[in-house]
Each structure stands twice: as structure tokens, then as C-alpha cells.
């Protein structure tokens, strides 16, 4: 898990000396903080937090109360910037532009709030463009990053190594597909990807599907599912299957699958975490939302 947030106690770390001295003994953990930690844990965010403090007592307290948090002393921190948790091996174009993208998103959200019409009308006004293309070698670092960072739209729930992604991009059996997103507010770059495999039984299986939550609510997962169903049907498949590790975190993915007509295998016992969602490819197929201009770049061949 990559650390996305560093909580840094200032006393004796960034500042020399103590910024704010409290007379009292450290109180027991505030119930509100414990509740907040529980929420962060539910949403899977807690693994992405590092806590830096010079006070060993406070480090121990945080370690005890929230064991998932990476707890470091300032001296550790100097060394930790080289650790994989704190420094991705490759900084992708999307990661480099993240600050600008947040600014673009703020402008999009401000305009959305001020917009008089419905959400659909706003999305139409945005001029959303989704570009689907076969993955190239150069997409591998970003695809790996998506496999690490995406949770709400991720069928696998496990990071996929760059070596494995590179193998799949070069393989004849697996088709690796990328999805890019842009609109009038900015270019979000490569926001999603999937890996498909054609079976002998007329079923195409999406062995991995992942999308950045930044693209949520912008018609991207819908466009990708519609494209997958259409491409599989044209490739002669009769069924499209999406095996999925079901978790409280990827409910948005399940909503997208349900909306696109996928159903989990009957007989999956309640509480079972793995389910195969599938749909028939005969009859009407899911459609790309009306506000999305979807295009296929380059040669996207059937596997």
C-alpha cells in the first residue's frame, strides 16, 4: 500500500523545540478520534497514512490504537523517503499532474454547483471524451499505479506487478485495454484499464478491471462496460463475465455492473467474497451514456 498522507507532529521535528505545551498528561484516545479511525479503516484509507512524531510515547499510543498506520520517528522519516511505501518507482504523467487535476476538479465542481440544469445536462456541457485503446508498453507504469491506487472500481483488490502487466500487454491471450478521459476542464489522462481473455466456451472474461475514482460519475465505467460488451459480441462471444472480489469498498463497481445488466452467479452464499458477475450478449447491449463521446484509438483487436 502506498502512503498518501503523512501526519507530522511539529514539535521537535520540523520545528526545533515544542510548539504548544500542554500542562496535562496525555489524555486517553478521544472517542471521536477512535470513531474517525474506524471510518478510515472501513474505507481502506488507514493503510495510506504515515504518522511522524518525535515523542516515543505518542508513537506507541498511535501504534496501539491504530496498528495499520505506518508510525515513524523523524529519523526514520529521513530514511523512509526511499522506501517503496513512500516513493513509487516511477512517477507517471498522471501523478505529476495530480495537483493541476485537483484544481481542474475544483473548477468542475464549482461550475456543477452553479449550473442550473440537471446532472446529465451538466455532463453534456462538460464535453466528456472517453478514449479506449489497446495498451502499449509505455502504459504499464500507470496501469500498475491504478492497480495499487484504485479501490472503488477494482475487481481484483490486489496490486498487479509491472512485470506481470508487461507480460500481459505482450501476450496474445490477454488483451489489455486503456481508457483515457478529458473534458472542457482538463485532461485526466489514463484513468482506467482492463484485461480480457476469450474463452473456448463463448465467454469473454474480464480478468481485471480498474478505474480511478476521479472518473466516477462521468460516464467512464459505463462507456468501458458498453464497449466491452459490444466488442465481445462482435468477436463472437455469447457471454461476458467479470469475476470480482466483493468488498464494502467496491460497491460503486457493483452498481456499475448492475446498471449494465450484469448479475452474480446464483447460489453465491451470502458473505462469499468472490463472485462472478456476467451477462448475456444477445439482445440489447448496455449503451454508452449520451453525454460521452467515446472513441477507439488505434487498432484494438480481439484477443
Amino acid at each position: 500500500m502506498i502512503v498518501k498522507c503523512v501526519v507530522w507532529d511539529l514539535d521537535n521535528t520540523l520545528l526545533s523545540g515544542v510548539y504548544l505545551e500542554s500542562e496535562a498528561q496525555p489524555p486517553p484516545p478521544d472517542p471521536a478520534l477512535v470513531a474517525a479511525a474506524a471510518q478510515l479503516r472501513d474505507r481502506g484509507i488507514i493503510h495510506a497514512i504515515a504518522f511522524v512524531d518525535d515523542d516515543p510515547y505518542e508513537r506507541a499510543e498511535v501504534s496501539f490504537a491504530v496498528p495499520e498506520v505506518l508510525v515513524l520517528s523523524p529519523e526514520d522519516m529521513a530514511d523512509a523517503v526511499g522506501w517503496p511505501e513512500l516513493s513509487p518507482a516511477v512517477v507517471t504523467a498522471e501523478a505529476r499532474r495530480r495537483g493541476e487535476m485537483y484544481a481542474e476538479r475544483r473548477r468542475r465542481e464549482q461550475e456543477a454547483r452553479a449550473f442550473a440544469g440537471s446532472r446529465d445536462e451538466f455532463l453534456r456541457y462538460c464535453g466528456t471524451r472517453v478514449t479506449i485503446a489497446r495498451a502499449a508498453e509505455t502504459d504499464v507504469p500507470r496501469l500498475h499505479e491504478l492497480s495499487v491506487r484504485t479501490h472503488q472500481f477494482n475487481t481484483g483488490g490486489e496490486p498487479v506487478a509491472e512485470r506481470e502487466l508487461r507480460r500481459m500487454v505482450g501476450s496474445a491471450e490477454d488483451q489489455v485495454t486503456t481508457v483515457r478521459l478529458s473534458d472542457r476542464f482538463g485532461d485526466d489522462g489514463l484513468v482506467g484499464g482492463c484485461v480480457t481473455r476469450a474463452g473456448q466456451d463463448g465467454t469473454w472474461t474480464v480478468t481485471l478491471l480498474m478505474m480511478s475514482c476521479r472518473a466516477m460519475g462521468r460516464g467512464v465505467i459505463e462507456a468501458l462496460l458498453a464497449w466491452l460488451a459490444g466488442t465481445a459480441a462482435r468477436g463472437g462471444a455469447t457471454r461476458l463475465a467479470v469475476p470480482c472480489l466483493v468488498s464494502p469498498r467496491n460497491v460503486p463497481l457493483r452498481l456499475a455492473l448492475t446498471a449494465a445488466g450484469f448479475r452474480a452467479d446464483p447460489g453465491v452464499p451470502a458473505g462469499q467474497r468472490r463472485a462472478v458477475f456476467s451477462r448475456s450478449l444477445s439482445g440489447p447491449l448496455p449503451e454508452v451514456p449520451g453525454w460521452v463521446t467515446s472513441s477507439v484509438a488505434g487498432r484494438v483487436t480481439e484477443p
Partner: protein, 94 residues
């Protein structure tokens, strides 16, 4: 679902849906209209907002209990699911 949705649940769901989609006309949504597809056009974002709001207001975690999200077929099925699964609601202000 054997039980029907309580009218106040239906009304509250209409309000949640109208807010999530920005479509005031959903305040008059019929109980038979599909929530996915042509009817309401629920997607992953509006669906997540709806499920979160349902969880918060009625203490019913539809996603945890219903793998295929069958409860989200129509406004009526969702209201019936909530009415059938909700714990007794505390008195207002309690």
C-alpha cells in the same frame, strides 16, 4: 419482498433521488419506475450516494446484504426492502 414500502420511506427516497441527480421531477417518481436504465438512470455515483443516504437514514446496508442489488430494481422494491429490514427508528430528537 413480502411487505410493501412504508409511504414515508417512499417519500424520503424520492427526496434523496431528486437531490442526488439534481432532477426535481423525481419527487413525483412512480414506485414502478426502474432505478437503472431509462427510468432514473442511476449510475455508480448517484447509486453510491443513494446507498450511503439509505444506510445513514434507515440503518439498512443494502450493498452488504444484497449482492446483486436487486433491491434497487424500482423505487417500490427499495422502499419495501428498507421497510422490511430497518430496525425500529428512534423517536425524532432521541
Amino acid at each position: 419482498m413480502s411487505s410493501d414500502g412504508a409511504p414515508e420511506v417512499v417519500a424520503e427516497l424520492r427526496e434523496i433521488l431528486a437531490r442526488a441527480t439534481g432532477r426535481a421531477e423525481l419527487l413525483g417518481l412512480s414506485e414502478q419506475t426502474p432505478l437503472f436504465g431509462a427510468g432514473v438512470g442511476l449510475d455508480s455515483l448517484t447509486g453510491t450516494l443513494l446507498l450511503r443516504e439509505v444506510h445513514r437514514r434507515f440503518s439498512v446496508d443494502v450493498a452488504a446484504e444484497d449482492l446483486n442489488l436487486d433491491a434497487l430494481a424500482t423505487l417500490g422494491t427499495l422502499a419495501a426492502y428498507i421497510t422490511g429490514h430497518a430496525p425500529a427508528r428512534p423517536a425524532p430528537g432521541g
